[in-house]
């Protein structure tokens, strides 16, 4: 079983690129299954279902969506195996710029929208910097020079990644991505995360909603960068 984790900011074109990639995988004789994770709502499963492949939706609701994805990775792999799939594509909600939900033994794919401008790669964080493959989308909406500058910025923060220029409307890049998926690593039982999660438990995690500073506990960081521990 191969695991592909697809992350990227909302609207970056993850679903559209995946739909084309799944078609290319099926042409190549692979048996893909998809797990779509979102926070509150999604209808992407209907788009995937049209391809006649196993589709599963997970809504993180009150749980951190990246933690939800990580916690359910075993279950996703088990479910895909039951459905006789050989590749499970996990499309994450993909919105937290602090974390990255990539285990080591997976193919980590980050989709990023070129129209957001060449400063975006500097802001995205581990989602982008720890990915194996960076898929740039919507390049048809900007000039060639702008695509090349964007590419340079991605390589500044993730010099070892493979860059794929994709287009969710035409399917550009999907054959290349499907080939990389087919060559991806096999999962095992001892996977570890590539990037460390944030500092644990603050008062918001336990239900605090009051804003005033005096109500907050845990490992806290002030706007000037000073960090302190407040609590028992």
């Amino acid at each position: 079983m191969k695991l592909v984790v697809v992350a990227g900011t909302p609207g970056s074109g993850k679903t559209s690129v995946l739909l084309h990639t799944i078609k290319a995988l099926m042409k190549a004789g692979k048996r893909p299954a998809v797990v779509k994770v979102d926070c509150l709502w999604t209808d992407d499963d209907q788009r995937f279902s049209k391809l006649d492949i196993p589709v599963h939706v997970g809504l993180a609701k009150d749980m951190c969506p990246d933690h939800f994805t990580i916690y359910n990775t075993d279950a996703m792999i088990g479910w895909a195996a039951e459905k006789h799939a050989d590749v499970v594509l996990n499309e994450t909600a993909g919105l937290c710029l602090r974390c990255a939900p990539y285990p080591d033994e997976c193919l980590a794919v980050c989709a990023i929208d070129v129209t957001t401008g060449p400063n975006t790669p500097l802001k995205v964080g581990p989602l982008l910097t720890t990915a194996d493959i960076v898929v740039t989308t919507k390049g048809d909406l900007v000039s060639q020079a702008e695509r090349e500058v964007f590419r340079e910025r991605v390589l500044d923060v993730n010099p070892d990644c493979i860059l794929v220029e994709a287009n969710g409307l035409t399917g550009k890049g999907s054959f290349e991505l499907a080939e990389l998926v087919a060559e991806g690593p096999d999962v095992n039982d001892n996977m570890v995360l590539r990037y460390n999660p944030p500092l644990a438990i603050c008062s918001l995690c336990t239900g605090e909603t009051r804003v005033a500073r005096k109500y907050h506990m845990g490992v806290l960081r002030q706007i000037d960068g000073f960090m302190e521990y407040k609590g028992e």
Binding site: T115, G117, P118, N119, D140, L141, V142, S143, Q144, A145, E146, E148, V149, F150, R151, E152, R153, L163, E165, T170, G171, K172, S174, F175, E176
Partner: protein, 254 residues
């Protein structure tokens, strides 16, 4: 090695999945070739296939060969090795950067030195009305200024042996001067156009219909003659336009 550059387009499918009538086309160094056809017929799609040196992996299924061979993967993606420069229909920059910062990044991505930055700006200012300065933000440039900067950027930084140009006549810049700049010497130039002067300046033109290449027309001696005559008309219209732009009156011109 550069001396022998040929580009071959092997046909794919039209919009209905039917093999296109022109199944092979070879373009040689120094040739200007036009692409004509109704709007929406697939002219820009053909340009995109050439830009990414399609290998049967685009929706049209076309394949591009360089000197008769399949190009290796790095030539397709690495800007330092790219053979193809493209001026698309895009009229605006989306990057929130100054002209200078952007051009510095672009020279770096193409493996060139920073001394080219000022050359690009100087050249761009010969094609446009109000001058562009290095500390302008890209997003405040007008359509014509953006397009002239993109044109100069291609001529100076993305100096590639194959140049693709999409509808330069709609760019609000001096189209013939821009074409001359981009064509340079001994390049392959592919130009999508609705403009009769530009279409007839090409030695051949590809006719596109319903997503497929349906015909190749070689510009005849008669057509070259027509081209000369409409160029005069065109230059006259251009001079009238410039006069009006300067805020002068055109009365009394013959």
């Amino acid at each position: 090695m550069k001396d022998e550059l040929t580009l071959t387009i092997l046909g794919g499918m039209d919009k209905d999945g039917v093999p296109e009538p022109v199944n092979s086309l070879e373009i040689c160094k120094g040739e200007i070739i036009g692409i004509v056809g109704p709007t929406g017929s697939g002219k820009s799609t053909l340009i995109d296939d050439i830009e990414q040196l399609a290998q049967g992996d685009t929706p049209t299924g076309r394949t591009l060969l360089i000197n008769g061979n399949r190009p290796d993967a790095l030539i397709r993606v690495d800007p330092r090795r790219k053979l193809v420069a493209q001026l698309s229909q895009k009229m605006h920059f989306l990057a929130d950067m100054t002209v200078s910062d952007f051009l510095h990044m672009h020279t770096r991505s193409r493996g060139k030195g920073p001394e080219l930055v000022n050359k690009v700006i100087e050249l761009a200012n010969t094609l446009t009305g109000e001058p562009i300065s290095a500390d302008h933000y890209l997003t405040v440039l007008s359509g014509g200024q953006s397009r002239s900067l993109m044109t100069a950027d291609i001529a100076v930084i993305s100096d590639s042996p194959v140049v693709l140009i999409d509808e330069i006549e709609n760019a609000g810049i001096k189209k013939q001067e821009a074409l001359q700049l981009l064509a340079g010497e001994g390049k392959i130039v592919v130009v999508v156009t609705h403009d009769p002067v530009l279409a007839l300046m090409a030695s051949r033109r590809i006719v596109i219909r319903n997503g497929g290449m349906v015909d190749i027309i070689t510009t005849s001696i008669g057509e070259q003659d027509v081209c000369g005559r409409i160029t005069e008309v065109d230059n006259w219209l251009m001079s009238l336009r410039e006069t009006i732009r300067r805020g002068e009156v055109v009365e009394g011109l013959s």
